[in-house]
């Protein structure tokens, strides 16, 4: 935009500049200390393990919702994704590296049920330093990552429930499986689109 008399262009308004393609990097230390405070806050506020995990899941959903929108625009996509496999692949190969600097280890379809899909991650990044004490039983702080997945899928129009499960025997390792259970109407819609 040229301004009369000066002969120079003025800098564009920040809202007019394109969304940067290179996302900023955040130090893992800074994030995990913040995440640690989030976990402690909900530990104090919750009166049971399921309530604790649900609170972390809700926090993750807000992240997921925003992550989807940012990465979708960054990829320059102009239309919505309408297929289950399509959105899951976008999640595991674009959003996952955008958030955690690595692709999800694998994506599989559930054998027993048409609505189930699994996302594997050997060591989910937000919970890399978490070590749950035995007094908290089966509590899994990866509920936060489940929430992120759920937020992404719900915002894209694929209603579902996501739960995190430990994949190692003995339940002490970091290998995690995120079980995505799509709602019936989503499964029906996907079948109709296939046909």
């Amino acid at each position: 935009m040229l301004q009369a008399g000066t002969g120079r262009s003025t800098s564009s308004h920040p809202l007019d500049r394109p969304l940067s393609r290179r996302p900023g990097e955040v130090s893992l230390a800074a994030f995990t200390l913040l995440f640690s405070e989030l976990v402690q806050l909900h530990q104090v506020r919750s009166s049971s393990v399921p309530e604790f995990e649900a609170a972390l899941c809700d926090a993750g959903r807000q992240v997921g919702s925003r992550a989807l929108q940012v990465h979708w625009i960054r990829e320059g996509k102009k239309t919505r994704e309408t297929r289950i496999l399509g959105i899951l692949q976008f999640l595991s190969s674009t959003i996952w590296p955008g958030l955690f600097n690595k692709k999800a280890d694998s994506l599989e379809r559930g054998v027993s049920s048409k609505s189930e899909y699994m996302i594997h991650d050997a060591n989910p990044l937000p919970t890399v330093f978490c070590e749950v004490p035995r007094s908290l039983g089966g509590m899994n702080p990866n509920a936060f990552v489940s929430g992120i997945i759920q937020g992404v899928l719900e915002t894209a129009g694929f209603g579902c429930d996501v739960t995190a499960h430990r994949a190692d025997e003995g339940g002490s390792g970091t290998r995690t499986v995120f079980l995505v259970n799509f709602h019936d109407d989503v499964v029906e819609r996907d079948e109709m689109l296939e046909g």
Binding site: A29, F35, S36, V39, Q43, E131, L136
Partner: protein
């Protein structure tokens, strides 16, 4: 492969209470220390650190840093936050500088695997096993 034979690591909080201890040598080679032993050693060393900083010939000095046992050595590191890390080793290969570097790496591992764990409370005993594995790996490298 490490040339130093580390015996134990002990960590006390600001107040002198024991928050971590780990035996680094196989149980057959040196007498096994019980948790009570570590508690007593920890609080004694904490007091000694405070006393030696007052009677040190160097004014404003931090106090005791190395204890020489002839065939063994103990290296003490006090952090800015008042925590005290104590590393003990035996054998002729236990060099002061090596142990000092080892302790710095152990402190970095502490800052990761204990401090960033949401389920650890400040100044409470640390129970995680991941930190212990890291300490053993660090001792192998030094």
């Amino acid at each position: 492969m490490s040339s130093t034979s580390y015996t134990y690591l002990l960590i006390t909080s600001r107040s002198g209470s024991l928050i971590y201890h780990l035996s680094l040598s196989p149980p057959s080679s040196s007498p096994a220390l019980t948790t009570n032993d570590y508690l007593r050693i920890g609080s004694t060393l904490h007091s000694l650190k405070a006393i030696t900083s007052q009677c040190s010939p160097v004014p404003g000095d931090g106090g005791m840093r190395t204890v020489d046992f002839g065939e063994g050595r103990m290296r003490v590191m006090q952090t800015e936050t008042g925590m005290m890390f104590v590393l003990a080793a035996r054998g002729g290969g236990a060099h002061d500088q090596t142990m000092a570097h080892c302790l710095t790496d152990i402190y970095a591992a502490w800052a990761d695997w204990v401090v960033k764990n949401p389920f650890w409370e400040v100044d409470m005993p640390a129970r995680g096993s991941r930190f212990g594995e890291e300490v053993k790996a660090i001792c192998q490298r030094h």
